[in-house]
Amino acid sequence: MASMRERAPRADAADAAAPALDLPPEIVAAIDAAISAHRTRPGALLPILHDVTARIGYVPPAAIASIAHALNLSRAEVAGVVSYYHDFRDAPPGRCIVKVCRAEACQAVGADALVEHACTRLRVAMHATRDDGAVSLEPVYCLGNCALGPSITVDGKLYGRVTPERFDRLVAQVKP
């Protein structure tokens, strides 16, 4: 039907007052930048969440309202998506992010022992950030490096055949 295709220019959502954020100005600016970079694309939520994470390392719970408002979603919907993906954190990560592969191939070549070693060396549990903010340790399920396991990433960079000794060298930047 013709009239249904005749899309009207939608009123700019900004005219409906956006919720005020109780966050530091540079974080607010980063969130706003991520929103305006992607808000007009279809399915903009994941790109915005990725962009916010890329800019500030996490998705502050206080940002959920402004993202929801910009995309005309409910806050609950955005919270549901954020909580679904481990990579969308709700708190700032450690200064160094270490991920250890726990998928089958790496497990078969000693990943479990490596995890144990990592927790001891870094003084932090899996899925956690150390109290001093120095490091976050995360499991990951397959880095596509199965022939060269056990595998880890340190701040996004992939390493294979990681022995405890090699692990210690790779995370030397993190104080024990």
Binding site: M1, A2, S3, M4, E6, R7, A8, P9, R10, A11, A13, D15, A16, A17, P61, I64, A68, N72, L73, S74, R75, A76, E77, A79, G80, S83, Y84
Partner: protein, 949 residues
């Protein structure tokens, strides 16, 4: 949890002309194409076990309990998500299926508390029922594994609790919030075993939840549970009845334990609501047993005297003698009555009969005077019938909706959910409102255009829209030629095409950009189906009737009338405002909108009643007040209306009340009006009487008595006994006999009877020989008046204009959790959401006046002043302020003026020129209000602790 003893075929009904024949466990069944295997099985008498499926929601396929076998297919498909195909042979029972279902159930129960006997859902728990059906005998996994049994219960909502330890994550609540209510306040947080249902990251009370109750209804366990059920236990019987709040007229099942209501559950069979509800009807019924209820008749000689409790007999004798004394002293015309849009059709009919047959005059009016009287006038003049043209279901076929001066998500929430559903399906929305209502933009809803006009310029906007239709060649000429009066149309066309009606000319008046008006007009005119919905923002103006006519003109010009999906739809404010108008509550009209000057109509009533009916119209409400101040009107019987709070220019109303010699108030509570009354007759709540309400779609719904009246008499009995005391017996034994009398006398009701209402569930009038089961959509073949009649609608600015002294325009409205004067909702836990009225003001206007958020401000008009707190918001445009009127001490109507609609005297509530300034004390009027409240409270009988019933 759904209401007790309700059948649930598991997936929604599908409508199709194509039929599919399948066999289920050997039984052949013929169902519409698109039906699920689960529903087909149910229709064949086989109930497949299920947990995540319900006929109120689309199939989801997550619980894996409803697996079946289908001949020729591999595996065990879920019967909820599998659609029937011709010749399918379905098996619902086999050893393999039994094993699979038991295995699934074991997993559920391994993470579910085993406290069934002390659980609030005991007796109506789907999980328990399914465990029984699949024959669960052991849980091999034990109960010691990882679980959610220690999850915290959220009791923040006043009406229901959320106990995630009992949750099976079937998502029924999440889907109900999305599909049925359209709020999207619930989600599943996390993933895998950690998945949990949650209202976002906050408590229920702080979340986006609007407490409609759909999630609570959808929950198959005790996770979401009414607190009243937790406290009171499961009901023992159910009575089908109708909500007494707004004009949507939702059908409810009152779940009862003896004469105590345990909970109210929306009825899936309800023609208006199809099983949905809002926070008011679902939960806010506690006022019916509030200790403030007055349950004994009271009289007093003067309003400064203490009330004296008397027997019903004494009350009737006293009232009758007072009214007759006034009539003999001041004349027959010195008394009158006001009927209530909150009472039943039968009760309203009786009050107007009392006036016409016993008072011997036509001094009867109704609260519709102050809300939808222009609708009656305007639609009668153009289309021929004083009622909306469609049923609510019609919205499912609308492609473009225009919402004018209505705020459905607050005032008609259940219908708003239907609108939102259709909008999510792709229909387009145009909002015409001075304020940015929630419908303009909210999750998944975005209006194509919001024509944010200045208050008081409705007619200019509707003329501009029609101007575009006419001048851009968008007229539906074949429709107009075939269905409308040619001469009147040509006259209108010549008028509307004039440059004075162009959007460009009127932009300066309305404040709406001409380009938006043009685009909106094109969108509506070119729509396959265009529907107009409107509210009191249309009627409560000096040109209210003109605007209603303008809306009808526009709909006729575009041919958007006379079929599903289109129409002119007034959203009625109160449960029975349509009915009270139908029942002859107006001083110039007998039931069925027939003028009292028509001798044939009068003869009909005179024969039935055995009295002479006066041919001259009586007094309208404002005329009653004027006459009272002139000392020619001295006695008033007010049934269920609080004129002292709800009518404009409060101080004038109070002066009129003070000047009367006998004011009789029949109500549940000591209302503001009752403080000025000489006789108080205790009213009965909707739970305490039989009758019918007629909703905004002309649907006559049954109201059924679930408990005896607290004061012993239903409202219709009170009126009948008063008539008898005045010498005219009205010997009805049941309201059905009153309806029979209405049917005998009213052409649009001739086919209505309680027997038929019980059989059909509800009836949309006209119901007569031509339409024995009622009329969902009107004006299909031709208009009720024959040809539709265009009328010229010249825009005349209101005299109430912003000026230097009063530079802002005040407009008023309602909010979701409170209802009108608040007499009911203020006596419920809804107070948690709105415990005072506030003034919405644009930040620019506030800044100019040095007003900060939450500060007290005085709102002063040329009539009066009141003080309330300020809320700074861009919802209102600069130059416009807005408030609600749910709390008497707010005094919104102290400020509103005596201006009214030229045709019907409907007050111009929606435009008052005001000044706003900071104030640190209550206004003079509010101080007087406080004094009267204290004084009158002291005049009530003292009972000590036994006042609470």
């Amino acid at each position: 949890m759904y209401s007790i003893h309700e059948n649930d075929p598991g997936t929604p009904i599908r409508i199709s002309t194509k039929r599919v024949v399948v066999t289920v466990d050997g039984t052949t069944v013929n169902v519409p194409e698109g039906t699920s295997v689960m529903r087909a099985a149910s229709l064949a008498g086989v109930n497949v076990p299920k947990l995540c499926a319900t006929d109120q929601l689309e199939a989801f396929g997550s619980c894996r309990l409803c697996l079946v076998e289908i001949e020729g297919r591999r595996g065990y498909p879920a019967s909820c998500t599998t659609l029937v195909e011709p010749g399918m042979k379905i098996r619902t029972q086999s050893p393999e299926l039994a094993k699979l279902r038991r295995g699934v159930m074991e997993l559920y129960i391994s993470d579910h508390p085993l406290d069934c006997l002390t659980c609030a859902a005991n007796g109506n728990c789907e999980l328990q029922e399914m465990a029984g059906k699949v024959g669960l005998r052991e849980v091999r996994y034990g109960y010691d594994g990882e679980n959610h049994l220690n999850a915290d219960k959220d009791t923040s909502n006043p009406y229901f609790s959320f106990d995630p330890s009992k949750c099976i994550v079937c998502s029924r609540c999440v889907r109900a919030c999305e599909e049925t209510q359209g709020t999207f306040a619930l989600t599943v947080l996390g993933r895998g075993f950690d998945s949990k249902v949650a209202p976002g990251t906050t408590s229920f009370l702080e979340s986006e939840c609007v407490s409609c109750g759909a999630c609570v209804q959808a929950c198959p366990t005790a996770t979401l549970m009414e607190k009243s059920l937790e406290d009171g236990g499961q009901p023992d019987h159910v009575v089908a009845t109708t909500c007494a709040y707004c004009g949507v007229g939702c059908s409810f099942r009152a779940e009862m334990k003896g004469s105590e209501v345990v909970r109210m559950v929306p009825d899936k069979q309800g023609g208006a609501n199809h099983g949905h509800s809002c926070v008011k009807g679902r939960f806010a019924w506690g006022y019916a047993t509030h200790p403030d209820r007055i349950t004994t008749p009271m009289i007093r000689a003067s309003i400064d005297d203490p009330w004296r409790e008397v027997s019903w007999d004494e009350a009737f004798a006293h009232t009758a003698s007072e009214l007759r004394r006034i009539q003999s002293k001041y004349g027959d015309g010195a008394i009158g009555a006001i009927t209530s849009s909150r009472c039943t059709n039968e009760e309203t009919y009786l009050v107007q009969k009392l006036v016409r047959a016993v008072f011997r005059n036509n001094n009867v009016d109704t609260c519709a005077r102050v809300c939808h009287s222009p609708t009656g006038y305007g639609l009668k003049a153009t289309l021929g019938e004083s009622a909306g043209t469609q049923n609510f279901d019609s919205v499912d076929h609308a492609d473009v909706m225009i919402v004018i001066g209505a705020n459905p998500t607050d005032a008609h929430p259940v219908f708003a959910s239907r609108m939102k559903k259709r909008l999510r399906e792709g229909a387009q929305l145009i909002v015409v409102d001075p304020r940015r209502i929630d419908l303009v933009r909210q999750p998944h809803i975005q209006a194509a255009y919001h024509l944010q006009l200045r208050p008081g310029t409705n007619v200019a906007v509707i003329n501009a829209l029609a101007h575009v239709v006419v001048n851009e060649g968008l007229l539906n000429e074949p429709f107009v030629r075939a269905r409308c009066e040619g001469e009147a149309f040509e006259k209108w066309r010549a008028f509307i095409a004039g440059e004075e009606n162009s959007p460009e000319t009127l932009e300066a008046v309305t404040g709406v950009p001409a380009a938006h008006v043009r685009a909106a007009a094109r969108l509506y005119a070119k729509a396959g189906n265009g529907a107009i919905y409107y509210g009191l923002g249309v009627t409560e103006h000096s040109q209210g009737s003109t605007m209603v006519i303008g809306i009808a003109n526009l709909a006729m010009a575009c041919g958007h009338i006379g079929r599903p999906g289109v129409g002119v739809n007034p959203l009625r404010g109160q449960n029975n405002v349509q009915g009270s108008c139908d029942m002859g509550s107006f001083p110039h009209e007998l039931p069925g909108y027939r003028h009292v000057s028509d001798p044939a109509v009068r003869a009909l009533f005179e024969r039935e009643w055995g009295v002479r009916v006066q041919p001259e119209p009586g007094l309208r409400i404002p005329n009653m007040f004027d006459a009272a101040l002139d000392d020619s009107f001295k006695g008033l019987y007010v049934q269920g209306e609080d004129i002292a709070q709800s009518d404009p220019d409060t101080e004038n109303v109070l002066a009129a009340l003070r000047s009367m010699e006998c004011v009789i108030v029949q109500d549940l509570f000591i209302t503001e009006t009752a403080k000025y009354a000489h006789v108080f007759l205790p009213g009965a709540s909707f739970l305490e009487k039989d009758g019918t309400f007629t909703n905004a779609e002309r649907r006559i719904n049954r109201v059924r008595k679930v408990k005896p009246p607290l004061a012993g008499l239903a409202d219709w009995e009170v009126t009948a006994r008063l008539a008898a005391a005045m010498g005219v017996p009205m010997p009805y034994t049941h309201p059905s006999e009153i309806m029979d009398e209405i049917a005998r006398l009213t052409p649009t009701f001739t086919g209505v009877s309680y027997e038929k209402l019980d059989r059909l569930g509800s009836i949309q009038w006209p119901c007569n020989d031509q339409a024995p089961e009622g009329t969902p959509v009107m004006h299909m073949q031709q208009f009720v008046r024959g040809k539709g009649k265009f009328a010229v609608t010249r825009y005349v600015p209101t005299t109430e204009r912003a000026n230097r002294e009063f530079p802002l325009l005040l407009t008023t409205g309602r909010i979701l959790t409170q209802y009108n004067v608040g007499a009911q909702t203020r006596r419920t836990a809804n107070m948690i959401w709105h415990d005072e009225d506030v003034l919405e003001i644009h930040p620019h206007d506030a800044e100019q006046r040095g007003i900060r958020e939450g500060e007290r401000v005085e709102i002063r008009s040329r009539i009066g002043a009141t003080v309330m707190r300020a809320l700074l918001t861009e919802r209102v445009q600069p130059g416009v302020v807005y408030t609600t009127f749910h709390h008497p001490e707010s005094g919104a109507n102290v400020v509103t003026t005596e201006n009214s609609d030229w045709a019907t005297n409907c007050p111009e509530y929606k435009v008052t020129a005001v000044q706003v300034r900071k104030s640190d004390s209550r206004s003079q009027w509010q101080r007087e209000f406080d004094a009267v409240a204290v004084e009158q409270a002291g005049l009530l009988p003292r009972h000590g602790s036994d006042t609470a019933e």
